[in-house]
Structure formats: C-alpha cells, structure tokens
Amino acid sequence: MITSGNNGGGQGKPRTPLQTVTIRFAGDSGDGMQLTGGQFSDACAIAGNDIATLPDFPSEIRAPVGTVAGVSGFQLQFASRDVQTPGDEIDVLVAMNPAALKVSLARLKPDGLIIVNEDSFNAKELAKADLPADCLDGALLKGYTLYRVPMTRLTQQAVADLGVGAKEADRCKNMFALGLVCWLFDRPTASTEQFIRSKFAKKPQLVEANLKVLGAGHQYGESAELFTHRYTIDQAPQSPGTYRKITGNQAAALGLVAAAQLAGKKLFYGSYPITPASEILHELSRLKNFGVVTFQAEDEIAAMGATVGAAFGGHLAATGTSGPGMALKSEMIGLAVMAELPVVIVNVQRGGPSTGLPTKTEQSDLHQAIFGRHGESPVVVLAAASPGDCFEATLEAARIAIRYMVPVVVLSDSYLAQGAEPWRVPDFSTLAPIPVTHPTDPATFKPYQRNEELARPWAIPGTPGLMHRLGGLEKQDVTGQVSHDPANHEKMVRLRAAKVAGVKLQGPGLLWSGPDRGELLVVGWGGTCGAIRTAVSRLADEGVTVSHCHLRAINPLPADLGERLKRFDRVLVVEGNLGQLRGLLRDRYLVDAAGFNRIQGQPLAVGDIARAIRETLKLRLTAEGANK
C-alpha cells in the first residue's frame, strides 16, 4: 500500500489495466526530454510501480536543432511487476518533432501508440528530418495508433495571460506532454508540481506558467475527444520500506560517503570530469557538510595521485572516471598496488576504444581493469549489477580496500550510472561498521608486516615513532625497505597476488537464479543483469529452464564459481564487449564457454539475449544429434 503520493484526478474515461509499459519521450536537445522523462519516472515510482530508465542523448555537443543528430530521448519501463530493463521495444512514443519520430520508430512495437506535437510537423522541420510532407498521414505510421496534439499552440494558449515571453512559453511545452501522459496512465503530478515550485523558486512567473501547462496537458487528456480511454498500472509488489529513485552515479556517491561514515573516516574524492562519471563528483561536492573533500584535479593522473596521497594520509580515498581516464590512471594505480594503500576506483564505462561513443554504454573495460598495468599488478575488481547496486558495490569496495590494504576497481557503466530504478533506502544504523586500525606502537611496527589476511598495517603520518617511507620500488618483505633482492621480489610478487586472490566479500560475489545444475548456465556481469534476468524469466514463462549467474566479484572470482560452472552442460557468457569475461572463465576453469556479445553502445536487449539462449540450446540439441 502506498502511503505517500497522490493519484492525479480525472475519473471520467474508462481505464484499461496494464502490467507493463515502455514509454519513450523524444524531442530536440532543447526540448527538455530528460527532465520530462525524469519527472514521469518519479511519478511512476512514487505511485508504486517498478521502473527502469534509459536517458539517451546521442551527440556530444548540441547538434543542429531539429536534426536527427540532435534528438534527445528518455525511455522508461514502468510496471506492476518486477522491472529490470528500460524495455527493448517501445509501447508509447511521445515525439516532440519529426526528427524524434524518425529515430524512435525503429524500436516502436508494431501496434505502438504515438503522441506527436503536431505543431512541429511543418515543412521546415520535416525537411530537417528528411521526412515526407505527408508523413503523419502516409504509410510510414501505418499500424500505429497516432495522436496528433497541437502542443505548441495549446501551451501558448495556457500561458497567454501570464505575460511570459514567447520563447519561455515555448520552453514549457514538455510540461504539456508530461501532463498529458500523466493523465493517460493515471500517474500523480504532485511531485512534478513540487519540483517546478522549487526549481523556479526565484521566478514565480515561471512556476505559474509551468504548472498551468502541466495542468493543461492533464486536462487535455480528460476533455479532448482524441483520447477515449486511459490506462492504469498497479503497484508492483515490493518489500516494505522507504523507497527512492536512484541512478547509479547517485548510488556510487552515497556508497562512498556511507563507507566513510561506517569507517569513522572522512571521504576524499579526487576526480577529473568525464562523461559519464562526472555526476559522482557533482553529487559529492554537494556533501561538504559531511566533511567530504572533493578535489577536481588537473587530469586523471593527478586525481589518482591525490587519491593515493589522501589514502596515505588516512582518509577513505576514492576516485571516479571512465575508460580514457582509467588508461591515464594506470601507472598510478600500479603505485597504489606497490604501496598497498586502500583506494577505491570507480570506472563508469562508456563506448570505446579511444574517445569512442562517449555518451553510450559498454562493458569493454574489464580487461583494462584486471590487466591494464605493467608488471604483475593485481587489484580487486567488482562490478555493480544495477543502479542501486552501485551503492553496495562502492561500499563493498571500501570495505575490501581498507581490510586488505589494496586498490579496488568498481566497474559501473553509462547505463547504470544514468539510468534510475526505485531503491529501497537502507537503514543506515543497521549497516555493519568498517573496522579500521592504525598502528601506533613503534616497538612492534613494521611497514610491510602482514596479518593473516596478508594486509600490511595502515600507519599514517602524524603518528610518533612510525616514520617510514613508501614508494614504487620493490619493497623488502616485512621491513618495507627498498630491496633489489631477487628472491624477495618473487616473494613479494606472489604475496601481492595471494592477497588479492584471497579477498573475501561481505556481500555476495555472485547473484544466482535458477537451478544449480542443468543444461545451460547464462553468465553475466555488470549492467546486463536486469536484461539477462528478464530474458531468463521470460524463457521460464515459455517453459525453458536456464540458470543465471551474475558476477559481482570479477577479481578474484567467487571461490565456488568453477564448481558451479561444471554442473552445467553448457555455459553462455553474455557481455557488452567481445568476450572479455568469457576469456577469463575459459582460462581459469577450462570450460568451453560460448559468448553472446553485442557492442552497439546500447544496453543489451532482452529479446536478443532470449534469442541467443534459445539458439544455444538448439545448437546443443543439434550437436548432440550429430554426435549420436
């Protein structure tokens, strides 16, 4: 039962209940689609639906207005059941201009519903999108249900008597669309109203204008004859608790602050802005009242260096970046390996190689995280499985970093970072503290004397009598002095490897669904979790049973993984790269794992995964047939 949030009015038209809807708001970059989508997501989440979102802005800089390159989209799936992905195919498309219609059509369901801002379908705009003049009437939209709404005009009407400029008035038309869609799906508008009030607090005129337009959109649905009925989506079953909507980057930021608090430490976050990791820096720079020190460094090397320095100083030290920044950090991560200092490195992956597709998602930095340094330079690598899991993953990373005195890489990706889901807010008082000890006794202190878990002591400057020197030259075992001794080097190389190999998580190293033995095990990691899970459960609905193993720990791999893999006839590794995890598993377990790989800058589609699973199973049957 929902206790907060009100359901918008409008009781007139008949309602059709639906289980799940995928909607996409699309328009020009200047049309405010990200905001619209975000607000609608809030409304759905508050109304108790499960949701998953996909903001999708294609080009780096503002592309020419009205062109296909300039389209900004926001897709979300909301449902009365568990939702794991923003949806492969679109049920409802809101297109603010011809270009938006054009680029979105490919993913619209054959019987999909389209709401267009009719006013923008003029000759000029159509030409920019390279669409025929009769496009709204022609064959292009055959089969779809089309609603032509003159949003620009209706918006202007709504604000006519407020004295807002034409340009500002026009900027409100996304609120019209939002109001209309809220009506259509009977979602509450209260949170948006509140948002408008606070966003334009200093410009009361704009508050009024936006509220009016929002209301007008809502009212239009109710009163215009165009819409004959509306839809309802029940609350999704959720365990009780306090919920919020959260993106991966928000969750990562919170995970780091929470970890610092749990360790009784202050957080240091050194970073250099880069899409799609910048929001972690933005979020943390707002939390100065937690004593968080954010340092916007001159580059990623400096960000990493400062993080290492802060860790030496005794802070919980973290950095965040994306692939190109990881490349730059690699030498300094190697120093952290040698100095055995606790640092957390969040890599929000994007499309590569090189500058690649900077606003698109990909899972192609796994190799880099594990192998991307010179020398034998092991670090712990974790991967977050959902936006909310970025909280758990960074918190876990901090725990491990401190416990083992080791750098920990957390792999997120653009999709997790910017996508949102409802998140059950943890009760902070129930989270386990992170034990920290700093040695103080000069009589017993040795900089590289290890405990049973092979961690060395975290002695911090300022402690009398514990003065010691760290550095990148090989260290003598126990004393930490510079050593060129051959046998010592081998010992240290193996000790560092053994320490990482022995790392134990507090949370799960893998997420499992399905039986623990069988024909096919689908293995994944990172941001594909929702899509694989959905595909697997869709197949289960069809009577096809496969299991799903999703790795959160990638280095070291979960201790029982080999055993688990061997209980299946076949292993299929699903990844948004060319098979990076797959190679690891083949090497480690000598299992003939197959791969399903898509590398298109988009989250993997459920349908594609399901198809790949079906084909793998079919292949197997054929192969068996052939063998007989």
Partner: protein
C-alpha cells in the same frame, strides 16, 4: 592546523638535531653531488625550527633528487616520475596538519611533471617545493632536460640540443606563484636561509636550487661553483635593498631599471639611489618576472626570494568551505541523505 604553526611551535619533546632527521639509510648520491648539500641543510633547518619528524612528510617523484625522502627520518613517499605534486595534494588536503615537502628534479618537475607543478602553484597549496636543478637527467644517465642549455651535447643530443631551456622561476611566476626563491647548493648558508623562508611561507613555496651533477653535467655549474664565480655571476636579492654584485670589491656593480628593462651599471658611475631596490612583496609578479629573465652572461642571475606574497591557500579554503557549508546545512545526516528529497513508503 597550518604548517607554519607546527613549524615554529615547540613540542614538549626534547629538541632534535639534524642527525635525528636522517634515516638509517646511507645517502646514495655520487660523491660531490649537490643533493648531499641540500639534504644537510634541510635537516639543519628542520631541527632548528623544532619541527616534529612525525608531522613532516617528504614526497618526491623519480630521479636522483627524488631519492631524498629515503634519507629523511620523517614520513616519506617516493612516488612516480613527475607526480609528486599530485600525491602531495591529496595528502595535504586530507591532512592539513602535516608539513608537506616536495623534492623534485628538473626533469621530474619540468618535463613529465610540468602540469602538476603549475597547478599546485596556481592553487597555492601550502607545501614547500625543492626543485634540484642540475640541468640534466641524472638517474637515467645523462639525457638533456628542459633546463639544459641550447646546444648542449648529451646522450640524447649528440649533436647538441635544439630545444630552448625553460626558466623555472618564470614558469612558476606565470602560474601565479606566491613564493619563488632561487639558491645554490654550494652556498650552504644561503641555501639554508631559503629553506627556512620556505618553512615560514603559507602557500606554495617554490625554491629552485642550482644543483651540481659532477657525474653527468660538469659544465652547467661552473658559473656558481666557487665564491668568486658566484659573486660575479649572481646577484643576491634582499628585500628593500638595492641590487648590487661583483667579485672585485673595487669594482662593484648594480642593476638599474631603464625603460622598463634592467641594466648593469658600475657603482662607481651611478649613485646607489638609482639602483633597483628589491621588493619581494609587491602585489604584481611583474617585477619578479623581470628579475627571473636576467641570465648569464649578460646579467648576473638573481638568487634569493624573488617573490613572497600572501594569498589564501587551497587547504585553508577547503576546510573553511567545509565549515561554512556545515554551518549552513548542519552536519551531514547520513540517513537523510540516503533517503533523499523525494521518497515514498511501501508498508507491508
């Protein structure tokens, strides 16, 4: 919290000697290397100032000069080539209570590390930087560096370098340095005095030391090896004093300004009042920059404090901002931040 305070503040503990600041490791620089001299002076100054070794951290990059931390009985971090300012930045921002020193070489600071150097200076982080400038890559056995003389023959420039040397002081001033000094390894008293000045400066104190490398770069240092050469080739800056120099007491010289440009004059010919009077604390760095451009053989090269002004430091402002924001928003409430501004309840 400030490094100045902890520098001058006497602890209860017994006064330490320079020896107490030496680690157990024997210094591994070549005989005659100028790094030895810097090491001796730094320890002397720290001991005299009553600094506590445990509150002091030496951070370095890679190079002969960057071995420095190993020989200090303080905390230390021998980081990566060029990256000492980055590690020092994180350390000082996390721990403003520590005295943080950066020891670096001309390759380390000005070649691979040039960007970090200018940024730490621009931000005016309260650290002290000792740049040991031997105009060569010592550790890698003798390639030219960004301060090597144009035309210099080295292992990587057998036919002479075709690059132009950078003037470290000018670069630091261009980056907005609040404290810039220059000194010479062989003039141990002056060296000590400069190091001491650095400990007293709040903000980034940048000291360039003309450092000899008898193994790979014998010539570069000739102009300053002995006292006689120094008095001809250097002009010692003193705040409020006119610029005079010269090896021959009978024929002292001075610097006068003419059309916004320095000019060497004989004291015999020119009244002292006409000479340029040094002002290290003038707000604009332009005068210091002009001095930094004086170079042999046309001019004596200035040593001493070129510039020393006050500007808020990054570390101070970091914590002032934290305090201000905490005052404004109240101390952070973790549960509240986790819950966020927009949440809803699902009850069982």
């Amino acid at each position: 919290m400030s490094s100045t305070e902890s520098c001058v503040m006497m602890d209860e503990s017994p006064k330490l000697t320079p020896k107490d600041f030496a680690s157990s490791q024997q210094a591994r620089w070549c005989p005659g290397c100028g790094d030895h001299s810097v090491w001796v002076q730094v320890r002397k100054v720290l001991a005299d100032a009553g600094v506590r070794p445990e509150r002091t951290v030496f951070v370095s990059g890679i190079g002969c000069s960057s071995r420095f931390p190993y020989y200090m009985n303080t905390y230390g971090f021998h980081t990566l080539h060029g990256r000492a300012p980055t590690v020092a930045s994180g350390l000082k921002l996390a721990r403003p209570d520590l005295d943080v020193w950066i020891v670096t070489g001309d390759g380390d600071a000005l070649s691979i590390g040039g960007n970090h150097l200018i940024h730490v200076i621009r931000r005016n982080l309260d650290v002290n930087i000792l740049l040991l400038n031997n105009r060569i890559y010592g550790l890698t056995k003798g390639q030219y560096s960004p301060t090597s003389e144009h035309g210099k023959r080295t292992k990587s420039s057998p036919a002479g370098t075709i690059e132009w040397p950078i003037t470290p002081a000018a670069l630091a001033l261009g980056a907005g340095a609040t404290f810039v000094a220059r000194t010479v390894d062989m003039d141990v008293q002056h060296l000590g005095a400069m190091v001491e000045r650095a400990t007293k400066h709040r903000g980034t104190a940048f000291i360039e030391v003309y450092q000899s490398c008898p193994t790979f770069n014998t010539e570069s240092h000739e102009a300053v090896t002995d006292k006689k050469a120094r008095s001809e080739n250097l002009v010692y800056l003193e705040h409020g004093r006119p610029l005079t120099f010269g090896g021959d007491p009978a024929d002292l010289k001075g610097i006068r300004l003419r059309n916004y440009a320095p000019e060497v004059v004989r004291l015999a010919d020119v009244p002292t009042d006409d000479l340029l009077v040094h002002d290290e604390s003038v707000a604009s760095p332009a005068l210091a920059f002009m001095l930094s451009q004086m170079s042999n053989p046309d001019f004596p090269e200035p040593v001493g404090v070129l510039r020393a002004v006050e500007r808020p430091t990054l570390d101070d402002e970091t914590y002032q901002q934290i305090e201000r924001e905490t005052g404004r928003q109240g101390p952070g409430d973790m549960q509240a931040v986790l819950t966020g501004p927009e949440s809803w309840q699902i009850t069982g």
